[in-house]
Symmetry: C2
DNA sequence: CTCTGTGAACGACTTCACAGCA
DNA sequence: TGCTGTGAAGTCGTTCACAGAG
């Protein structure tokens, strides 16, 4: 099973597993069976076992999975055993909030710089992160060896920003603008459309679906 | 095909379609074929047609889809043809940013109140939204007939908040806390874990996958 | 006996390909 | 001709169920 690459939904769940395992560790729990673990996440045990099996043999028959080593493994697989430098483009309300959000740092992502076009924002320091003019983009990306970027610019500016980022060598973009970005192959985009998430809830509530 | 309910991935794409159609409308484009539309979103034409077909017959053979009426239809399907009142629990950095974010209002979601436990936050007004003490939760939910809530409290408080929300009659929760919430059936939860999204990019960039 | 890892069966979603309408 | 709507075929992901390890 190892040879091919894991299905995308399985990789997404790895993050979910990691989050839950970190919680278990903080509660002092040293091992879990796939069944216990799956139940706590409202999914099936087979799914947990199969997802993990794509990347190796981490469990012990008759015992289960040891929490601490599995956390290490998942971090290694996801690439967060090392810290990533990240930049943010668009220091509006939403961008500023992300700069202040502590959650990223804890998970291995260091926001090293922010960018904007508005001169009144440039030069400011938000939560220890300096806001630069967008023209400094590639310079700073190179200096800090940045490969990931968060885009929080308005809708209409997003595509242009994405192109600048790609030219500057960015390899992954977390896109909060409600636009599909066109990027060269070799660059990954993860879109997060907050209004769309509320729409999904609206749909589910409106059509009174169970879950 | 109408009888059964649409697959979940199809409903998710409806939001994507709506966003793109709104853009087309703003550019003055009156109709699109499934092929043109699909190409602009990097998906297949058959997928677009089939997704829409779950909900009705919106296209004209030989012509394509008329943009404006389709926008109306999608809003009706998603339930955003009417405005939803929404509350937010957790007026920390991230919560405050969402209160200031204009995108929700435009898509049919009105933030009517925010809540926190910290007394120093209670009473403040953020972007026209008043912060109340959490003890006022059910009172205000009832007064404004609120059915959707956004949770931006710390990790450890999320489950408790979710339970309070459900008791107060909330039917959909947009959860930004990195925790799986247990809720009664009949309540929908949509989890958004920002750190997890960066992890996914980290994985993709680390394993140099195309996309 | 418990619990993992995994082929095989199953089901869900996507793509194909074409009949039929404009 | 151009394009939608849709069964049929195909692909992908999940669940089943069990051999084998502890």
């Amino acid at each position: 099973m190892k040879p091919q690459s894991a299905p995308d939904p399985a990789v997404k769940r790895l993050s979910l597993y990691l989050r839950r395992l970190e919680r278990l560790a903080s509660e002092g729990i040293a091992k879990v069976s796939s069944r216990e673990f799956a139940e706590s996440l409202d999914i099936t045990a087979a799914k947990v076992r199969k997802d993990l099996a794509w990347f190796g043999q981490f469990g012990s028959p008759g015992v289960g999975y040891r929490v601490a080593p599995l956390i290490e493994e998942l971090r290694r697989i996801l690439g967060t055993d090392k810290t990533w430098n990240v930049i943010l483009v668009g220091a509006g309300n939403f961008g500023r909030a992300l700069l202040q959000y502590k959650g990223f740092r804890k998970k291995g992502f260091e926001l090293v710089a922010a960018f904007d076009i508005a001169v009144e924002k440039v030069g400011r320091q938000i939560s220890g992160v300096k806001v630069h003019h967008i023209s400094k983009l590639s310079q700073i990306i190179r200096r800090h060896k940045v490969r990931l970027a968060i885009v929080t610019v308005p809708d209409h500016a997003a595509q242009k920003v994405a192109e600048q980022l790609c030219r500057a060598g960015i390899k992954g973009i977390l896109n909060f603008a409600p636009t599909s970005l066109r990027v060269p192959s070799g660059v990954a985009v993860d879109p997060v459309d907050l209004a769309a998430h509320l729409e999904q809830l609206s749909f589910q509530v409106g059509s009174r679906r169970r879950k």
